[in-house]
């Protein structure tokens, strides 16, 4: 939480500086504290740290040379994309190098016939779909941060988005990843086909939070853009009525392209911000997007409208054109900044629960909100049970910070208790290391630790994130000059 004093690594920082300067042009190496400031945290600003050096390679070969050099000198390396992560996963190591990959941002190839795109890791998520649009194709996973976040970061986080109920997460939309090992060797995982030789290395790399390797190239699948998409906006007078309506849509055999819920506070904030015409009197709002062929969408709009009405919708509105559709989404997409205007700071949580537990969990969150005396707005991916409670607090008040953190922990424990997970899309990072013990037992945690060691025996790649290090902890700490990595 606090900035650690800038200490010199045991290997002479001078030697490291010399080596990095021989690999990278001067403008790609940042050493001065002030110039480093923009990199001191990701989007979870509760945790801040400055590295010894920031390396911003412009080619994969430079990134490879940086890794080789750090490996030789035993220096920790933290990979970073756009820094939009929400778990301090890309937070720097004070005795290491922050390896920023955002400059590797070329779209290498789009093959409209094979429906694939080959990308450098720093290409933003949105840029892929923009480039594919001329062929009538797009890249399905669409995190709300898609303007800024990188495909390398998406692979590391196994990012999801509004579309993933129907079209899957990052892991379902990848064909190959070129990765640098911590030793700086280049290896291709996956390939041209839907499966590759031997063990499914792509599965283990996707969502590994930069702990197993550094991604320098990604090949993704592209999908044909649906002929049409329309969105249905429905207000309900209780969260449980809205939750039941969601279950009924799925039971009717319809998988919407997106299905999002906001509670009363979130919808007020979003409406103040976006003026989308949301029903201010509703206690819960559903946004249901149906996509497909003209005929299919028309059929599904009728069916879902009937289901919502039968479940007591207090208002119902269907987008008539693209402009109205994007207006209706605007409120949802800007829900985070909208809540940001209601409070000096907010803490975004990310748990997943079985869908039928929605009203129980939201009731509990409301009880906890009173207990901790902090307001909370709930935005979530209703279709897949991924919650984003936004806990409002004031970072200038240390007591509020402590209460906000404890509130967050309670929500994650609750998610596990009802059969869910401590993170649906943001990852574990530094933030949720302790909650890993809620979701997994000793044997599973040992397995994760061993997987980490299989790829990175010296534990120098993004140390202290993602998995709690149990048995090697003591040995690791005893190594000279190694930073305490949170175990």
């Amino acid at each position: 939480m606090t900035t650690t004093p800038h200490t010199l690594a045991p290997v002479s920082a001078d030697l490291l500086r010399q080596r990095l300067a021989s690999i990278l042009p001067a403008h790609c190496l940042i050493e001065e504290t002030e110039a480093q400031r923009p990199y001191e945290c990701d989007a979870l600003s509760l945790y801040r740290e400055l590295p010894l050096f920031i390396a911003l390679p412009e080619t994969a070969d430079q990134a490879q040379a940086v890794l080789q050099c750090c490996h030789e000198l035993g220096v920790p390396v933290v990979p970073r994309g756009a820094g939009t992560g929400l778990t301090a996963g890309a937070m720097a190591h004070p005795e290491g190098v922050l390896l920023g990959l955002a400059k590797l941002n070329r779209i290498l190839d789009i093959d409209p016939v094979a429906r694939t795109a080959r990308l450098e890791p720093g290409v933003t998520n949105l840029a892929i779909s923009e480039a594919a649009a001329e062929h009538g194709l797009y890249y399905a996973p669409d995190p709300s941060s898609q303007i800024a976040c990188t495909i390398g970061g998406n692979v590391a986080a196994n990012s999801g988005g509004v579309h993933c109920l129907k079209y899957g997460l990052t892991t379902h939309n990848l064909l190959a990843v070129e990765m640098l090992t911590v030793e700086g060797e280049r290896v291709t995982l996956g390939g041209d086909g839907l499966d590759g030789p031997g063990l499914d290395m792509l599965a283990i790399i996707t969502g590994s939070e930069g702990l197993l390797g550094v991604t320098v190239e990604v090949t993704v699948k592209l999908l044909p853009r649906p002929e049409i998409a329309r969105v249905l906006l429905a207000g309900f007078d209780s969260v449980s009525a809205a939750g039941d309506a969601v279950g009924a849509v799925i039971a009717a055999g319809i998988i919407p392209g997106g299905l999002e819920m906001m509670d009363a506070l979130a919808l007020q904030a979003a409406e103040d911000f976006a003026r989308a015409g949301y029903p201010r009197d509703a206690q819960a709002l559903l946004l249901c997007e149906l996509d497909g062929t003209e005929e299919e969408v028309a059929q599904h709009i009728d069916e879902v409208s009937a289901i919502f009405t039968a479940h007591g919708a207090t208002s119902l509105r269907v987008s008539e054109d693209e402009a109205e559709r994007s207006l209706l989404w605007k409120g949802r997409k800007s829900a985070f900044p909208a809540v940001g205007r209601m409070s000096p700071d907010y803490y975004c949580m990310d748990g997943t629960i079985p869908r039928h537990q929605v009203s129980h969990v939201l009731e509990e969150i409301s009880r906890l909100s009173k207990k901790y005396d902090l307001r909370v707005a709930n935005v979530f991916h209703a279709g897949d049970g991924n919650l984003h409670p936004l806990i409002m607090y004031d970072a200038a008040d240390p007591a509020q910070v402590t209460r906000a953190e404890q509130f967050g922990v309670d929500i994650l424990e609750l998610s596990v208790a009802v059969g869910g997970a401590i993170t649906g899309e943001h990852g574990v990072g530094l933030e949720k290391l302790n909650q890993m013990h809620d979701q997994y037992g000793e044997s599973e945690l040992h397995l994760f630790e061993d997987i980490k060691a299989a790829f990175d025996p010296q534990l120098t790649l993004n140390p202290g994130k993602g998995v709690p290090i149990l048995k090697r902890c003591q040995e690791y700490r005893a190594l000279p000059g190694k930073h305490n990595h949170g175990c």
Partner: protein
């Protein structure tokens, strides 16, 4: 008949580990002489570990023990108007859930509907130390820890014994209809790619013996409108073509010639017109020939027949081989599970 035999399986693994005695995991026994290499070891049968543990149609979630026949699962979800999205082969009703995940074989819908790997949310696994692990979970979105569940897909039981699997299921399509067209392989490859790039409810595309088969499935309105605009001859929903393709019971798959499977991109040139079946809109090619087809892209597996003591999955580059071997050691430090089934060195 549902039966939980996990404790017995666990004891058997602990015993084998203490004797450092290799185990050969068997289930329905349907793929023992295909998919991977021959392997030696004391048979350990998971076939008796059966039954659905949890099925919640409104959550699109199904959890079942590994020895449960796939046919039984398919029937259970069908009664709720749902399907297993990956269309697993049934192989005469004997194929099991665990064997299906271990082999990661998918039916013709894979490019659109995904594989069992894609549908897997969590697995129970007994590792080489005899510990029972619960990996992943029961919700679709979970990024806590490494995705060790999906890693079991295609591992052929080399990483451990799968005791149960939690899957995502999906609603059954309202209507299914197949169009067929007479054309040669080149023309079919091009047509498949063109059709797959349009936003229409295509869920399978296969070419065999001078005929292209396109399957449409989804909302009835979309299926009918698409069929009307694409033309071709219509096969009824009851026609067994796709089920026979899925179960590899078409005449193409019979015979003594080695069977090769290529997983590749749709634009890959075809190696031969005869003795070839193109599936997955060009992304999976099957060849019957005595020698491996010389391919430009993707990878080739000696799927069935031929010499099953060779590296049936080809060679790996040294870095990848090192990483895969280390992963194997992580799960199975003494190398007791299915030694050599995936690669001679694993």
């Amino acid at each position: 008949m549902a039966a939980d035999t996990a404790l017995g399986l666990q004891e058997a693994v602990v015993e084998a580990a203490s004797d450092q005695r290799p185990l050969r995991i068997t289930a329905g026994g349907t793929k023992t002489h295909a998919v991977g290499r021959d392997c030696e070891g004391t048979p350990l049968n998971v076939g008796g570990h059966t039954g659905i543990i949890d099925y919640q149609p409104s959550e699109l979630m199904l959890q079942a023990r590994a020895g449960t026949p796939v046919a039984e699962l398919a029937a259970a979800v069908a009664s709720e108007g749902q399907v297993l999205p990956f269309e697993p082969p049934r192989y005469g009703g004997n194929a099991t859930l665990g064997g299906t995940l271990a082999c990661n074989l998918s039916g013709p819908g894979r490019p659109w509907l995904g594989s069992i790997r894609d549908a897997t949310m969590g697995v129970g696994l007994i590792n080489g130390r005899g510990e029972q692990l619960a990996l992943g979970g029961k919700v679709m979105k979970n990024v806590a820890g490494y995705d060790a569940s999906r890693l079991q897909a295609g591992a052929l039981g080399c990483l451990g014994l799968i005791t149960d699997v939690t899957l995502k299921v999906v609603p059954a399509p309202e209507q299914t209809l197949t169009l067929t067209f007479e054309m040669d392989a080149q023309q079919a490859l091009q047509t498949m790619s063109e059709k797959a790039a349009t936003p229409r409810p295509l869920t399978a595309a296969c070419w065999l013996d001078g005929r292209l088969y396109l399957r449409l499935a989804g909302a009835a309105s979309a299926v009918q409108a698409t069929a009307a605009s694409w033309g071709g001859e219509t096969l009824t929903a009851e026609h067994p073509f796709w089920a026979d393709l899925r179960d590899m019971s078409l005449p193409f798959f019979k015979g003594a010639q080695p069977l090769w499977r290529q997983s590749t991109r749709a634009t890959e040139p075809l190696q031969a017109e005869t003795g070839c079946l193109i599936d997955w809109a060009g992304q999976q090619r099957w060849y019957r020939s005595s020698d491996a087809p010389a391919v430009e892209a993707g990878h080739v597996v000696l799927f069935a027949g031929g010499d099953r003591n060779t590296e049936v999955r080809g060679e790996l580059d040294p870095v990848q081989q090192r990483l895969q071997l280390r992963l194997k050691q992580t799960f199975d430090p003494q190398g007791i599970f299915n030694p050599g089934r995936l690669y001679s060195w694993m």
